[in-house]
């Protein structure tokens, strides 16, 4: 019995020793007046101070010991405060809108809080060269592939309920500044049949689109010159344009609030293991698996290898380069390893023009069969216009300089022909941005690489990455966490089509 009591006392003493300082303060607070009497004597405070100091030192020692235990990120060397963690579950390379959307959906779909640790690596936190913020910001449903139409419909639905998805408690609601204006595609005689086929595909997929004859077109939009137009298709709903920066920031804010880790740095290398596997047809394949990602800090020699289970390649225009670090595309010709990721940056110009006599509030996102597009920007008679250059005249992609001659030569004549009011206009500014151009078939590549079994791709959207980002993020999160696509089946956009050399082409009228 006495032994037991002694043990009890000891435990209590140990408890006292283990209590933190905060708790001890609470204790003194409770017995305030009693302690005061003690303060009057001279010997006790000294002893108290001694114990307090000792306790503080012990607490510090305990903390240090806990930090040095395996499983924590403590190291004896003092380091950069912005370094990414040493290990994480999923690394998303590329902090554009697609990358952040994937991060958000991964967190959204995790079963318990903190179930998946996600790291987003972005090399340029100012987004000065990112395709996301330099795009024209449109969303349309007028595609010819059902997958693309479904992606658009799902994304429009997401944007409609954006505050249910991306609203953060105690923060302002997200205002995308969505402009509900349809896309108006104009088709010439030669391509009118394609437009009709696309129209039926779109209607079948559930998009609200209507076809106009040139007369109807003239009636609806008197300011359009219908010369050469055989057919026009016009989106009635879920189409328009919005502010890309707001969408990006909304994704980022929500993902960060859900516990995604953000890191500013550049992925410069991978550490991976390779196994040689013999395929059923006797071909020797090098199957790789990424073990860690090397993240280089900006403007310094410091780097951090991040151990991870899965890497998501959402680097947009630079995802081809990222895959090259793993030897994709560097193998011998006619082998699986010799086929590169067919994504490269392409420069596109966007010109802002001012035209006081231009079309008004009902201006659609006009896309002419010559490849020229224009849309309204704000209410003050400003418009955005541009065109895709021909394959042979692709501009140099080393910088983001704007070639104003391109507007004079290619955009303006076609634009003024279509909308005579644009004869009198003034170019007020211009910018250039990168497309993550898929040279193979101009559609997104979504899914795991067949030779690297833990690298997922979400890239190569060739200009519709921004508008499809909410749905693509969800699809990829489903693929990673649940094993296959649940809501929109995107298996046609997997890497397999590139290995099989079967392009999934969008039948465009442009």
């Amino acid at each position: 019995m006495t032994a037991w009591r002694w043990l009890h006392v000891k435990v209590r003493a140990a408890g006292g020793l283990l209590t933190s300082r905060g708790l001890r303060h609470g204790h003194t607070r409770l017995n305030g007046p009693l302690m005061l009497c003690q303060n009057l004597s001279t010997a006790r405070p000294l002893r108290n101070d001694f114990f307090k100091d000792l306790e503080a030192q012990l607490a510090a020692m305990r903390r240090k010991a806990a930090e040095a235990l395996p499983g924590s990120s403590w190291s004896p060397v003092k380091h950069h405060s912005n370094l990414p963690p040493e290990r994480t579950d999923i690394v998303i390379v590329g902090g554009g809108v697609v990358g952040w959307s994937i991060a958000y959906w991964l967190k959204q779909k995790e079963l318990i809080r903190g179930g998946v640790q996600v790291l987003v690596v972005e090399k340029d936190p100012t987004y000065s060269q990112a395709s996301t913020v330099l795009s024209a910001g449109g969303i349309r449903q007028q595609f010819s592939l059902p997958e693309n139409i479904h992606l658009s419909l799902a994304s429009a639905d997401f944007m409609r309920n954006i505050n249910e998805h991306l609203g953060v408690l105690d923060e302002d609601p997200v205002d995308l500044q969505f402009n509900q204006s349809g896309y108006l595609f104009l088709a010439s005689e030669e391509v009118a049949h394609i437009m009709e086929e696309n129209y039926s595909t779109q209607r079948y997929a559930g998009a609200k689109v209507s076809l106009f004859s040139p007369t109807q077109l003239k009636e609806r939009f008197p300011w359009i010159n219908t010369e050469g137009v055989a057919l026009a298709s016009y989106g009635l709903e879920n189409e328009g344009w919005f502010d890309p920066w707001t969408l990006l920031n909304a994704f980022k804010r929500k993902a960060l609030s859900m516990g995604v880790i953000q890191c500013c740095g550049e992925v410069t290398n991978f550490r991976y293991t390779t196994n040689v596997v013999t395929a059923t047809d006797g071909e020797q394949l090098d199957m790789s698996r990424i073990k860690s990602v090397r993240v280089q800090m900006p403007n310094s020699l410091e780097y951090q290898p991040v151990e991870c289970a899965i890497v998501v390649n959402a680097a947009g225009a630079f995802s081809g380069k990222l895959a090259e670090m793993l030897g994709i595309g560097l193998g011998p010709k006619n082998s699986m390893k010799g086929i590169p990721v067919p994504v490269e940056p392409r420069k596109r110009y966007v010109f802002v023009v001012h035209c006081p006599d231009g079309p008004g509030l009902d201006t659609p996102f006009l896309i002419d069969y010559s490849g020229v597009y224009c849309r309204r920007e704000g209410l003050g008679g400003n418009y955005i216009a541009g065109a895709s250059p021909e394959e042979a005249e692709e501009p140099d992609t080393s910088n983001l300089e704007v070639d104003y001659q391109f507007f004079e030569d290619k955009v303006w004549p076609a634009l003024a022909h279509r909308v005579p009011a644009f004869e009198k206009l003034k170019v007020t500014s211009a910018w250039a941005g990168f497309y993550d151009y898929n040279t193979f078939d101009q559609n997104g590549i979504i899914g795991v690489h067949p030779l690297i079994n833990n690298m997922y791709f979400a890239t190569g959207f060739s200009g519709h990455g921004l508008q499809h980002s909410p749905a693509v993020g969800r699809a990829l999160a489903e693929l990673i966490l649940e094993g296959n696509f649940k809501t929109v089946d995107l298996s046609n956009f997997s890497f397999r089509r590139i290995l099989a050399q079967e392009p999934v082409l969008e039948r465009n009228i442009v």
């Binding site: 007046p33 969505f178 204006s181």
Partner: protein, 255 residues
């Protein structure tokens, strides 16, 4: 004894003084805080729990809204689309008039309504008044079949937003009168969607708080809908009067 008493007295005095000093130094520790402050203090230590509870509340209101605006497929299956729409309108405390009839059906203050509307199974709706109801984008699906709808009043609907206006193209051939005044969530981007309503004759866009420069927007609307009478009151157009008496200018124009 007396000395000890005096010393005790001094001790008490000093302790009292010290107590006062302590109160000033650590006012939070010695004197108990008011209840609401203590409550807030304990809530700050439970941030994630509070976030969770607020999230649930948000979700609950959302689910309620969803339930109210659900597609009345069961009613439609057994009573036809006209009765389904009428029932939807009345249960949201709105009102409507059947095509060719003069009688209006309205729900009263407490949401009660008479079931006489069941007698007009074959008549489509002509006028619908959904003012001050919680109709939203998904609820519009219940009215979709009424291609002869002429008047739609959506005054002061908190859930009517730009996407709702974009969806109104389903009535593009019939709709003549639209009232979207006092809807707080409508912005300029949504008004551009009204271009699809070619037959619109009357449009009320008064007191839309989401519009930044109403003067210009109204002019652009008039340009876009040349055959439409646009009412836009409740805006202060004059910049210099903004700080003064805030006189509201009335504006009605027909072009």
């Amino acid at each position: 004894m007396a000395a000890s008493l005096a010393s005790l007295h001094r001790c008490c005095q000093r302790s009292a003084l010290l107590l006062v000093a302590r109160r000033q130094a650590f006012s939070s520790s010695s004197s108990p805080l008011p209840l609401h402050k203590r409550l807030l203090l304990s809530l700050t230590q439970r941030f994630y729990d509070v976030e969770m509870v607020l999230g649930w509340r948000f979700q609950r209101t959302r689910n309620k809204l969803r339930k109210k605006n659900a597609y009345y497929s069961y009613t439609e299956k057994y009573y036809g689309p006209n009765i389904a729409s009428a029932y939807y309108i009345l249960s949201l405390r709105g009102g409507f008039r059947y095509f060719g009839q003069s009688e209006w059906f309205h729900a009263d203050q407490r949401g009660k309504f008479s079931w006489d509307f069941l007698n007009y199974k074959d008549l489509p709706l002509e006028e619908v008044d959904m003012s001050y109801t919680v109709i939203n984008y998904t609820g519009l699906v219940n009215l979709e079949k009424h291609r002869s709808l002429r008047t739609l009043k959506l005054k002061g609907c908190p859930e009517v937003d730009d996407w709702f206006l974009a969806r109104l193209h389903i009535f593009q051939d019939s709709l003549e009168e639209l009232d979207i005044s006092h809807c707080p969530r409508i912005t300029t981007g949504g008004l551009a969607a009204l271009r699809n309503l070619k037959g619109l004759k009357r449009l009320n866009v008064s007191s839309l708080s989401g519009i930044s420069n109403p003067g210009l927007v109204v002019i652009l609307l008039e340009e876009m809908l040349p055959h439409c009478l646009i009412t836009a009151t409740g805006y202060n157009y004059n910049m210099w009067q903004a700080e003064g008496e805030g006189k509201e200018e009335q504006r009605q124009r027909q072009r």
